[in-house]
């Protein structure tokens, strides 16, 4: 031993005493190990590896010694070999490149050719064990035959290992399964219990991938079920039946007796009892007496003082809930008690069960209980509770809520939790309820007034998905339903323009300003414009110099509107107020998120074909760090930029689109606006090609219920109120669907899933016996073929992705063109140029109105939207709409051009500029 600098014991002892200079000690030890591992003496080498394993356990890297491990593995001395196998177990990963070098050593050891002595089986055992842990595709393919040959070994010690090792091999290399399946099946009735148990284990894992393949094993398994006394094995057998019996009702019926037998036997292990109950629930959901028996047993579990049993009982209860929700509701008392349990595992399980137990009568009680818990919960549990409250209340399309006023108040209570997350969820609920339940709006508007006036909410908890998100909903509701404010309009305006608001996230500020406009219009209608203008102008300066592009733009826009209003209101030729009113006159309705998908493609419209010549692939090097194709400072700001002369209109359009995207991305990321906008000037945009769109299909979107046959949609909600003045409980559950939608089976998504599915599930075992007979050697396809196909498939997939990308780009283009068109139409025939401004912006306003729900928008906004999204699998609609608005503005040949300029000028600190710009434009328009 003297040749080592340190033995393992020395190392451990040294480490324990050198607690302060641990890292120094370890780097010293590591150095020695590196020397020792190069030694020609394998005893030294393996001792070094042993020490390395210990250090690895403490978190130090040992991947550098992989090759040395392989060296020692092929040693003949058992002591060293064993260390090498242990090291491989610990250190090798799927990416270890030397792993292929181990093939021969493992094969030799498995077949026991090294030693004929008594140690051979332990060497083989070690090797199989290691193979199971480090198994890669290559190893599985090369060694599958060897391992299968061990199934006939005379020693159970080897047989059980070989059987268990088969599963990782099948997983990595599924073709190995069919030829060896019959042998595996024989092992189910092996005389040695641990061997049979191992075979059952492997069958269980296989059955998880594709249960149907293993129905043929039912007789053998049934035999084990009725005769075996080995609980470990019985648990697994019962589990297999839980997977395969639902596929075969006759088999399920035969299981009743043995399973109930286990459940009724009192001295059985809990693990087996639990498994039997689970299988009963899965296989015999309609057998009432069996389910009742299970429920009685589960009740004793949940009622048990032992929290392990309690947990188990709740776990199984969740299974029952899937098949017999009513059965769970009977045990409501017990489950509610579990909500107070100290153990979070138990509480979480009990929470999961709540959704099966709520009713109209106990919803308020249960929610009250959850609210009590929020006060004492830590933040992650708090988030779970908030989510749960919302989920429980919105169950079955809110049918358990008897008083929406109560629900609004509950949501408001949630916003008062300090530091709580899940604000977006609350925001969404507030909007949804206020929009869909007309009768609650006056109450809701009233409550929202308090919310926006709450100083805590707007200054604390400013975080992503924090409760400040509720302000978004509050501002929107107050603005949209300002006619219900009943004299509190000015107060609302003051709250919306409070100086604290500037610390809120930009999207909330933007909504605030939008709703300031709505409030102003509402006040102007009632001849109180002067008061409103005073309040707004007093406070707006906080926003016109905002660092957020979106906020600043809207604030400047508001300034301009007020200016125009003051100027034009007395002009009898124009009806400015009526035009402004048009912005808010249309009622916002819910649109089904699936609506775009359901629109029938107009004849002759091919969204996949290019409208113009496709652009060459983008070269990422073309762009500088700002994402622009050129250096901004090279171009004079007067907008004369030479590149345009050489570019086709399409190219310029493409580039402009990119700029818009970058701008948008930056505004989302709260970035500062670019210096001089990259020398970009909207007046240089040449005419962008337009596309003719047939509009006839979209003129009057009918209001269709999603399912007219559903009784819920036919009868009104019961009118039961708890001391709330609001009269009715009508909830509008309809979503607007566009003309010509059809209910389609969404089979498209499934097919994609099939491709991803574990290939082990696709193995066909119907001819397994024939396969086994026909081959003595292992039928292994050549290495090259498998890899070839693999890489090919990858290649194809890559191309598909590319195509998809192209399509996306194209779609963007079309949206842009359409936007332009709308803009032009707005201008056409209008006597005054300024009309273009509010009009064009309307798309933008609406776009933002739509954002809270993500699926709402004015029919007008929607019209283009639906088309823009055609063929897009899932509507991510907020974003395209935003784009559209922006683009619409940009493309307008007249009238609106002042806008982009307006916000470019503003960041320079010239607040007066927006005023002048549009006015100038208006003149031009005339």
């Amino acid at each position: 031993m003297s040749m080592f600098k340190k033995s393992l014991t020395d190392l451990i002892r040294g480490l324990r005493s050198a607690s302060e200079s641990e890292s120094a000690y370890i780097s010293g030890a590591m150095k020695e190990i590196k020397d020792e591992i190069k030694s020609k003496d394998f005893d030294v080498k393996s001792m070094a590896i042993k020490k390395l394993i210990y250090l690895h356990m403490l978190g130090y890297d040992m991947s550098w010694a992989d090759f040395n491990i392989v060296e020692v593995m092929s040693q003949s001395k058992f002591t060293n070999k064993r260390i090498a196998y242990l090291a491989a177990n610990q250190s090798f990963t799927q990416e270890t490149d030397v792993i292929t070098l181990t093939t021969n050593a493992i094969r030799k050891d498995i077949l026991g050719t090294n030693t004929r002595g008594k140690g051979a089986i332990y060497e083989a055992g070690n090797a199989i064990n290691c193979l199971a842990n480090i198994c890669t595709l290559e190893l599985s393919r090369d060694l599958a035959g060897t391992v299968v040959s061990l199934l006939t070994s005379t020693r159970p010690y080897i047989r059980k290992r070989a059987i268990l090792c088969l599963f990782p091999i099948y997983e990595k290399y599924p073709p190995a399964l069919p030829p060896s399946f019959s042998k595996l099946r024989e092992k189910l009735s092996d005389p040695d219990p641990s061997v049979a148990s191992a075979a059952v284990n492997v069958v269980l894992e296989l059955a998880r991938t594709n249960p149907k393949n293993y129905l043929t094993l039912a007789p053998t398994l049934f035999n084990i079920l009725t005769n075996s006394t080995n609980n470990w094995m019985l648990i697994k057998v019962v589990k297999i039946f839980g997977l395969i019996a639902p596929l075969e009702p006759r088999l399920a019926a035969r299981l009743v007796d043995p399973l109930c037998g286990f459940i009724n036997t009192h001295n059985n292990a809990m693990s087996l009892l639990y498994e039997c109950i689970k299988t009963c629930i899965a296989c015999l959901p309609n057998n009432r007496s069996v389910i009742r028996l299970c429920l009685t047993k589960l009740r004793t579990f949940i009622d048990h003082p032992d929290c392990n049993l309690k947990y188990l009982g709740l776990l199984a209860m969740a299974e029952v809930m899937k098949v017999q929700p009513k059965g769970v509701a009977e045990h409501r008392d017990l489950i509610l008690n579990c909500l107070d349990d100290e153990d979070i595992s138990i509480r979480l399980r009990a929470l999961e069960l709540l959704s099966g137990m709520v009713s109209k009568h106990n919803l308020a009680f249960i929610i009250g209980k959850l609210k009590d818990h929020i006060a004492i919960a830590d933040s992650s549990y708090q988030a779970i509770l908030i989510e749960k409250i919302v989920k429980l209340c919105s169950l079955e399309k809110y049918s358990y809520i008897s008083d929406f006023g109560w629900y609004i108040n509950t949501l408001i209570d949630l916003t008062k939790i300090p530091g709580a997350k899940n604000g977006c969820l609350v925001r969404h609920q507030l909007l949804e309820i206020s929009i869909r339940v007309k009768s609650i709006r006056p109450f809701s508007v009233n409550q929202m007034m308090y919310l926006i006036a709450d100083p805590n909410l707007r200054s604390e908890n400013i975080q992503e998905d924090g409760m400040c998100e509720a302000l978004y909903a509050a501002a929107w509701i107050v603005g949209e339903y300002s006619n219900l404010l009943e004299g509190m309009e000015l107060k609302a305006l003051e709250s919306l323009l409070n100086e604290d608001v500037v610390s809120l996230p930009s999207h909330i500020q933007a909504t605030y300003l939008q709703n300031v406009l709505k409030l102003f219009i509402h006040l102007a209608e009632n001849d109180r414009a002067d008061e409103a203008i005073t309040v707004i102008e007093e406070n707006l300066s906080n926003f016109t110099s905002s660092i957020h592009l979106e906020v600043q733009e809207r604030a400047c826009f508001l300034v301009v509107i007020l200016e125009i209003y003051k100027e034009e209101i007395d002009n009898p030729d124009t009806n400015l107020l009526a035009e402004l009113k048009e912005i808010v006159s249309e009622e916002i309705k819910a649109v089904s998120p699936n609506a775009p998908k359901k629109v029938r493609l107009p004849e002759g419209l091919d969204i996949d074909s290019w409208i113009n010549e496709p652009m060459p692939e983008d070269d990422p090097d073309m762009y500088n760090e700002n994402g622009f194709e050129w250096e901004p400072q090279e171009y004079p700001t007067n907008g004369d930029y030479p590149d345009n002369q050489n570019l086709s209109p399409m190219e310029i359009h493409e580039r402009n689109r990119k700029i818009e995207e970058i701008k948008k991305a930056r505004s989302l990321g709260n970035d500062y606006i670019l210096g001089n906008g990259g020398g970009f000037n909207s007046e240089d945009i040449p005419t962008i090609p337009l596309e003719q769109i047939m509009e006839t299909n979209f003129d009057s979107p009918p209001n269709m219920n999603r399912n007219p046959n559903n009784p819920r949609n036919q009868r009104g909600m019961p009118r039961r109120m708890i001391n709330r003045p609001t009269a009715e409980l009508e909830i509008d559950l309809s979503d607007e669907m566009p003309d010509g939608w059809e209910d389609m089976n969404s089979s498209g998504e499934e097919s994609e899933e099939d491709v991803v599915k574990n290939s082990l599930a696709n193995v066909d075992l119907s001819n397994a016996d024939a396969d086994a007979l026909s081959t003595s050697a292992y039928p292994i396809p050549l290495r090259t073929t498998t890899q070839q196909t693999r890489s090919n498939r990858g290649g194809q997939r890559g191309t598909r992705g590319g195509q998809r990308g192209n399509r996306g780009g194209q779609r963007g283009n079309r949206g842009g063109q359409r936007g332009n068109r709308g803009g032009q139409r707005g201008n056409r025939g209008q006597p005054r140029g300024n009309r273009g401004a509010p009009r064009g912006n309307r798309g933008q306003l609406r776009g933002n109105l739509g954002q809270p729900r993500g699926n709402r928008g004015a029919p007008r906004g929607n019209r283009g939207q639906l088309r823009g999204n055609l063929g897009q699998p899932r509507g991510n609609r907020g974003a395209p709409r935003g784009n559209r608005g922006a683009r619409g503005n940009r493309g307008q040949p007249r009238g609106n051009r002042g806008q982009p300029r307006g916000h470019r000028g503003a960041p320079r600190g010239n607040r007066g500029q927006p005023r002048g710009q549009p006015r100038g434009n208006r003149g031009r328009g005339n």
Partner: protein
């Protein structure tokens, strides 16, 4: 992730890994993270006391049991039987206890390779292979003889 047990760890009270077998491919960095997270979960649960031996961890179930200063933890698939896993941990501890004649943490540190050997006699490829304590011990002792 097809195996029943994804990984089996022995962690001491201060968060040091004393023995760890990973039955699913995981990178070294993830392993370190998991050890830290697991220790936090079981340690805080242990302080509260009188809790169940099960916790939810990521998308899996964590089954653990404390013996003196050591936590024996197994991470299994959600649908697997948590009680039988707990019992298999008991088997492991019983065998260790008999083998070392009253096992303590220092035994596991100094003889870590023997611990792995015993572990490999009970578990293989993430499945419980052998639960007969006598058989396991006999095999381990026979292997010991070969080493000398």
């Amino acid at each position: 992730k097809g195996t029943m047990i994804h990984f089996l760890l022995v962690i001491n009270k201060t968060g040091f890994l004393r023995c760890g077998r990973w039955f699913v491919p995981i990178t070294d960095q993830e392993k370190r993270d998991i050890v830290v997270e697991l220790h936090r979960i079981v340690f805080t649960r242990d302080i509260v006391g009188n809790l169940s031996n099960f916790a939810e961890y990521r998308n899996e179930t964590l089954v653990y049991k404390r013996f003196a200063s050591l936590f024996f933890c197994a991470c299994i698939e959600k649908q697997d039987n948590i009680f039988s896993t707990l019992e298999s941990l008991q088997v492991l501890v019983d065998v260790l206890d008999t083998y070392f004649n009253g096992v303590c943490e220092l035994d596991l540190i100094v003889n870590f390779f023997r611990v792995y050997m015993i572990l490999d006699e009970i578990f293989l490829a993430g499945e419980i292979m052998e639960t007969d304590k006598k058989k396991i011990l006999q095999r381990v002792l026979e292997t010991d003889k070969l080493v000398e």
